[in-house]
Amino acid sequence: MRAPRADRELPAPWQVPACLPRWSRNEERGRTNASRHTDPAGAAESADGTEPDARFTLANERTFLAWSRTALALVAAGLAIVQLLPPFPGIPWGRHIIGTPLILLGSAVAVISYLEWAGNQRALRRGEPMARSRLPGLLAVTIAITGLVAAALALLSG
């Protein structure tokens, strides 16, 4: 998959084609170019690709926020299972076996989503293809295993 950039139409990194809207030329690109000539931080940034269209930066940010909410929901679910669920008869650690993996998964999703956000932002700057996310697979496998364990506990504790 290719990063959604308008690179092909760009004659040079500092020129934006006329088909793109005026706001992307004036605000984002203009400010970036100005900072390149003034502050050293801007110059260092220009060595690592060019500032992408603001819409791609914002979309990347929304993706990160959506994963963060997923992480928070996983932590809340794990906490609720341990704290609110009645104990399994005969299996004192039953609730912990289901809840702890969900809390750990929430923690992992929070950290990995930030790393993937940073990787996507770097890919956007350089015009490289974005790496495939590992989060859907991790989420699917962990939730599937947790579900199987919960089913086994429900059957065993009867």
Partner: protein
């Protein structure tokens, strides 16, 4: 490309508005969790509600004109907050008092 091919080209504010709404949803998620925890553990719930208010405020900045560059530190705040809540939940789960379960 015709001018009206992509509505985002004529209304660039929509992307910012979606982003602000995403920040607001995140803040509401934190507030919901903080409010739930507040009942049993007030000292853990109040900081989470504080983080929620901070995220709400950051979301309003996300929609400000000229916003559109990457902001790693603001996003790192979210990651640190979620990880902190997770570690606290883990500590409560593993070394906290044995929970009795919800009595309805």
């Amino acid at each position: 490309m015709t001018p009206a091919e992509d509505i985002e080209d004529t209304h660039p504010g929509l992307a910012r508005e979606r982003t602000e709404l995403a920040w607001t949803r995140t803040a509401v998620s934190f507030a919901a969790l903080g409010g739930l925890i507040l009942r049993g553990h007030p000292y853990a719930g109040i900081p989470i509600l504080g983080v929620s208010a901070l995220i709400w405020q950051l979301g309003r900045l996300a929609a400000a004109p000229g916003a559109g560059r990457s902001r790693p530190r603001r996003l790192l705040l979210i990651t640190v907050a979620v990880t902190g809540v997770s570690v606290a939940a883990l500590a409560l789960t593993l070394i906290g008092p044995e929970p009795g379960g919800l009595r309805l």
